[in-house]
């Protein structure tokens, strides 16, 4: 393989990885936007989404098959179910804490994460579950560059979801309300915006996107387990920080950049693949130190 082939291949791989990070990072950044909470349970919603998608696929595969059509239906069902779960979590665990100090709600988020993880651990016995699909290994080659159909479908789906989200936030009434709530909750209340409903919608969408990513990851990689959300949760958080937490476009950009950085990071001479995560989280620290607002974030003055 010539160096430029490897280079192109790394870009393709980085994009696929980045698509997952971006979808999960969106949930982080949207929730942070409206209630200033780092929702550490978000990675576990990704995991829950994978398991719900797995269950849904076994239900619908009889009719739609276990290829992409069946997986899409399972993904939509999983997005719906996990979206509702996200709303319930917000109502039960976060809503009563909104007026409490920020640290309390952060600890609540960690607790929710542990609840989801341990529930999945108990239900699955900690075993890896094989996510069986009919997806083939096919693809096409451009020179030495190899693109599988699955990768193309995956990146396209992620792109469609992100464009839909962007349109929702910029063009619709609720999207406008969401941006308004992110700027000033009290003012929104005075203007008659139902802030609670906007927060609920935000959680629904954020959790739904994580579920979409979880289901697609399960189908693409072929196995799921209760701890799968932990590492990707941290990495999506890193992506959100790189892009500027609170910024939706920033999360997409951050996800793609992180995916590419990881892909290239594995190939740095004399630094083997085992240093990949060290590399990733070093970037997190560097961004936090050098440009805490990220690429697209706005610096925010804490109001007293």
């Amino acid at each position: 393989m010539a160096w430029y082939d490897l280079f192109l291949q790394m870009i393709v791989d980085g994009l696929v990885l980045g698509a997952f990070y971006a979808l999960v990072a969106l949930g982080y950044t949207m929730v942070f936007g409206v209630i200033k909470l780092l929702n550490f349970a978000h990675g576990d919603l990704y995991m829950t989404g994978a398991f719900v998608g797995f269950g849904a696929l076994s239900l619908v595969s009889g009719v739609f098959g276990a290829g992409w059509p069946g997986i899409f239906i399972a993904m939509l069902l999983s997005m719906l179910a996990v979206g509702c779960l996200g709303v319930v979590i917000e109502r039960v665990a976060y809503h009563p804490m909104l007026t409490a100090p920020r640290l309390s709600i952060l600890i609540t988020a960690l607790a929710v994460s542990l609840v989801l993880q341990n529930a999945a651990l108990t239900l699955t016995g900690g075993q890896y579950t094989a996510f069986r699909t009919d997806l083939g290994f096919g693809g096409f080659s451009l020179g030495n560059l190899f693109l599988s159909w699955n990768q193309i479908v995956l990146v396209t789906t992620a792109a469609v979801l992100m464009i839909a989200l962007e349109l929702f936030v910029s063009k619709t009434l609720y999207g406008r309300a969401m941006r308004a709530v992110a700027i000033d909750k009290d003012m929104c209340r005075m203007l008659g915006i139902n802030v609670s409903a906007v927060i609920a919608i935000t959680f629904f969408i954020g959790s739904g996107l994580a579920a979409a990513a979880g289901t697609m990851a399960g189908a693409y990689y072929g196995s799921i387990w209760y701890f799968m959300g932990f590492l990707i949760g941290l990495k999506a958080f890193t992506a959100a920080v790189i892009g500027g937490i609170g910024s939706i476009t920033g999360a997409m950009l951050g996800g793609l950049i992180l995916g590419l950085l990881e892909s290239f990071g594995t190939h740095i001479p004399f630094i083997g693949s085992e240093w990949k995560d060290v590399f990733t989280f070093t970037i997190l620290i560097l961004v936090l130190v050098l440009k805490p607002t990220g690429l697209l974030g706005k610096s925010e003055v804490e109001r007293m």
Binding site: G222, W225, F227, M228, L231, T266, G272
Partner: protein
Amino acid sequence: MKKFVKLATVAAAVNLITATSAWAAEPIVIGMQAPTTGSEATYGQDMFNAISLAAEEINADGGLLGGRQIELVSGDTACDPQQSVNAASRLASQEVVGVVGGYCSGATQPTLKIYGDADIPFVIVAANSTQLIPANPGNAFMINSTGADQAKTAVDFFAGQDIDKLAIVNQGDAYSQDLADLTRDDWEKAGHTISAFEVVNKGEQDFSALVNSIRNSGAEAVFWTAYYADGGLLIRQLRQRGFQGIIAVGDGSNSPQLFDIAGRAAEGVYAFSNPTADFLPAAKTFISNYETAYDTAPGPYAPLAYDGMQLMAWAINKAGSTDADAIIQALASADGEAWLAGPISFTPQHTLARSNFVVLEGQDGKWIRYQP
């Protein structure tokens, strides 16, 4: 039905022979040592079952030293160093001619000195830590392969496939890293090339970058030394991305579950495994006899336990007496003696001279024995 009739005939014949030779000379007492209580009890019981089966067969064939029957006494080590010392002392006080068994390396190690002081030959059938080697006073013989043997098996296998450039991937834990290091050293010593030596972090799902560096390195074969869950993912992604070389996995990955995770990609993948009964052509009769006698399938160490008893019996016959030094000499002289698992010969340190790891191949979602 046919099988039943056959077994019934065998059983009747066994009874007849046992009955006729029962009045012969005084019995030869052999000790068995394994955990039959505690967390490892199933393995220990399994070993006792296999040893008993071997002894029954030997007795049915006329016993040892011209008609003397084997009598077994058992010692439970509970996989605990203190309890194993008690068990070994008790066996020694019963004046056993030899001891067969030894499951947990930690619990086996302190018994070596006891048998050494009492001058009792000891065939260790399952325990395989390399720490047993320096602790051996000279009377013990290990018939299970060690980690170094698996590396040897891997190197032989890859060399047999006309491979030069090998990529090794491990997971950074003591077990998989050890196997990876040993294999790398042996492979380079054999004059071949290691084209990639990589580590993946546990819990990682996306190996695309790793697969790229493996493909880019020109590797003709990939050896995964860690466990099946992540191994399944790696195999899948290697094949998904058009890697067409040989893939082999270590004994942490030879689980049937590898096929669940890797799916079709696991077809044609090779695995190294301890000699469990399913993969030993010689063990067919053993499996059916075991199942008839104990109503359950033989466990992972049953074939080696059976071989251990057979080896001890062979050595006693060869020595021509129950004299300990003569038996030890006979054991050391074993030259390719084979029963269920591979042929047994010993190194000067009394470890197995030739690895008894077997090579398996994935076919139709199952492991089958690979025959080159």
